[in-house]
């Protein structure tokens, strides 16, 4: 490190400035650039947690499942031909004919191909909904929590109203009136008020964080509010936001498949919910065992994906929750008694 030198707090000082005549040798002379900051954040919040994450079997299984669906939606659609009417016999049972591993529906469409080709719009919906939820919640939550006063009162009144309105009926009413076709738009409509609960939760996290001494220090140093929020508050919120990102992904799946199943959203593309609707409405899947696979295949697909998402969020929750984590690390140590342990954890956390 001849020219650039990393100082303990993560900032960099160039050779010139390092020898500058500050009385405190290790104080960085400038603020970090945003890029450095995010590089450090990536290290702190992505790479390091990922290693811990991999130790937790739930997070590991969850990650693998999510990855499998992402692959299905990106690579899978290239490998599997799109379903065509009459490509196989009608209502072939699953696992009989290997050219139709999951059987066919009443029009001879391959069910496996339908499931694969329904994945990309689903992923788009999930991403749109989860991003919208997260961004809205973070903006409203941090603004309200950090600003306080009238801003807080106004935002939270509005927020509480949104939170009280039951999501599904509201989404249905909007969907009936707007008839959205783009998966991105569907994702946003489905989460139209889903962010309110998260915004409340983030606000209370911010209220706790803003009392931390390092935030107070920044405030005393006259650093602007947006900068404090970005640099001091956000990193503390990141784990919480990640867990909730995954949770909102799951609710987008539940709601969108439900709406497609009811036939409220227009059937523009293949969707697992549309498959369920068709097998239920036209296939008469309820009255006979013969069409059961047509109904079951999309249902199993949904359940596995949301199982993966929940496992992932449970695993990450454990990784980020210092109390649970500390308790579990010490729980692995058989030498300590239960009574001592709880006390130790408490001090450990405070320290």
């Amino acid at each position: 490190m001849s020219i650039e030198e990393t100082v303990p707090d993560g900032g960099t000082i160039t050779g010139d400035e390092a020898s500058a005549d500050t009385p405190f040798g290790t104080v960085s002379s400038g603020t970090m650039s945003r890029r450095d900051r995010y590089k450090m954040l990536a290290n702190e919040w992505v790479i390091a947690p990922f290693k811990i994450l991999w130790d937790d079997w739930r997070a590991r299984v969850g990650t693998l499942i999510i990855l499998a669906y992402v692959l299905m939606g990106t690579v899978g659609v290239r490998l599997v031909d799109p379903p065509r009417v009459g490509e196989g016999d009608r209502l072939v049972s699953p696992f009989e004919d290997m050219s139709h591993p999951l059987g066919t529906d009443n029009m001879g469409n391959d069910i496996f191909a339908q499931i694969v080709h329904a994945t990309p719009p689903m992923l788009e919906m999930i991403v749109a909904g989860a991003v919208f939820t997260t961004v809205m919640a973070v903006v409203v939550g941090t603004l309200s929590g950090y600003k306080g006063g009238w801003t807080d009162q106004l935002l939270m009144t509005f927020n509480d109203i949104l939170m009280t309105i039951p999501g599904l009926p509201l989404v249905i009413v909007i969907a009936v009136i707007l008839e959205p076709r783009s998966p991105w738009l569907v994702g946003v409509i489905i989460t139209v008020n889903a962010w309110a609960g998260l915004a409340r939760a983030i606000r209370s996290q911010v209220l706790t964080l803003r009392e931390e001494s390092y935030v107070e220090a920044s405030r005393l140093m006259g650093i602007s509010t947006p900068q404090i929020v970005m640099k001091d508050i956000m990193p503390g919120l990141m784990p919480y936001i990640l867990v909730n990102f995954v949770n909102s992904a799951r609710s987008v799946i539940f709601a969108s498949v439900g709406l497609y199943f009811l036939g409220i959203l227009p059937f523009t593309e293949l969707n697992w919910g549309v498959m369920m609707n068709l097998s239920y409405e036209t296939g008469g899947a309820l009255y006979t065992w013969e069409t059961a696979h047509w109904l079951l295949a999309p249902m199993v697909t949904i359940v596995i994906l949301s199982f993966g998402l929940i496992l992932f969020s449970q695993g990450t929750d454990r990784v980020f929750n210092p109390r649970v984590r500390a308790r579990h690390t010490s729980a692995a140590d058989p030498e300590e008694g239960d009574e001592d342990m709880s006390g130790e954890v408490a001090t450990h956390i405070r320290g």
Partner: protein
């Protein structure tokens, strides 16, 4: 100032209803291709071209309580006034007053949802507490896994499976309706039996898919509380274990569950649209779905309003009991960060 808390909550509940009603009005009136123009085109279609516009407007007003030829603010006042008198317009599909249809449906939805809510939380809280006490045991690990798995099943998928297997294939449970046709309405045993029998599958699909996440939340809360200093102190003071379990751990672990409860109220009542359709159970959600399918806007918006009001009331009640349980919420500082 304990009273402040209640006044604030009441005002908030009333204001929420007011805001939702205003929003509904906006949707009915202002959305392009919304109900008013739809009804107008329907009427024009039915009666041919020589239809009198004034007559059409009058009919639109009968159905939606919105008079399209008046200025907007008068429309709004009329709409509000009609609502305050309990008039939600007339259903175009059933040709009955919406209020009448929904008033007969509402008790059934409330019946199914409140039982589901109580069972979900009763089961979740009990199981979660037990899991936390024997944390790390085989029971805990397997229950956690089962909870996660059940929670990853959407309630309507569970509903379809139940109605498919237990309803259509084995004929163990009814596949539709509120009560058997041969049972007289009234508070007798046969009526109650029939009502529970018909509500069993809808309730089961909500409870089976819902209790897991509550159990996990309760488990997490209890584990956290068990690690607190005051529990240690209580143990050192030699308090009997069941006292600690109920008064110290139980109470503090249940309080954060209220957030989940409020979300669950909205989730369950909202979910009635899908659930009641699958079980052909004529509650509010069922009629809302009928309204959507028939583009019957008065019925659809009326059902939306009633569901919302039910949720607002549910949350309001939960809020008030929360204030009773948690002294911090009722006393001055009522900022309620636990939300």
């Amino acid at each position: 100032m304990i009273n402040n808390y209640y006044i604030e909550r009441t005002a908030q509940a009333v204001f929420t209803v007011f805001a939702v009603v205003t929003m509904t009005f906006g949707m009915i009136r202002l959305m392009p291709g919304g109900p008013v123009s739809y009804i107008r085109s329907q009427l024009v279609q039915q009666q041919g071209n020589q239809v009198d516009m004034e007559q059409v407007n009058a009919l639109v007003e009968v159905y939606t309580n919105v008079a399209p030829d008046e200025p907007l603010y008068i429309q709004y006042i009329d709409y509000m006034a009609a609502l305050l008198q309990g008039d939600l317009g007339v259903s175009m599909f059933y040709n009955d007053p919406v209020t009448e249809i929904l008033a007969s449906a509402a008790p059934w939805t409330v019946f199914v949802m409140s039982i589901s809510l109580v069972l979900t939380f009763g089961l979740g809280i009990t199981l979660g507490a037990v899991m936390a006490y024997i944390e790390g045991s085989r029971f805990d690990v397997s229950t956690t896994l089962v909870s996660i798995f059940l929670n990853s099943i959407p309630y309507y998928v569970m509903a379809i499976i139940l109605v498919y297997v237990l309803g259509y294939q084995f004929n163990w449970f009814p596949t539709g309706g509120r009560i058997s046709s041969d049972v007289a309405t009234g508070m007798n045993l046969a009526f109650l039996q029939s009502a529970f029998y018909h509500a069993a599958l809808p309730i089961a699909s909500l409870v089976i898919t819902g209790f897991g996440i509550q159990a996990l939340a309760m488990r997490g809360n209890s584990i956290r509380v068990l690690g607190e200093d005051y529990i240690r102190v209580a143990r050192l003071r030699g308090l009997p274990p069941h006292d600690i379990a109920l008064r110290y751990v139980g109470r503090n672990a249940i309080l954060p569950m209220y957030t989940g409860m409020m979300i669950a109220i909205g989730f369950m009542f909202g979910g009635s649209v899908i659930l009641e359709e699958i079980f052909a159970y004529p509650g509010i959600g069922y009629y809302m779905f009928r309204g959507i399918m028939a583009r019957d806007y008065p019925l659809m918006m009326g059902a939306f309003l009633i569901i919302t009001i039910a949720v607002v009331v549910g949350i309001y009640v939960a809020d008030l009991t929360y204030g009773k349980l948690d002294p911090r919420a009722g006393s001055g500082g009522g900022n309620r960060e636990a939300y």
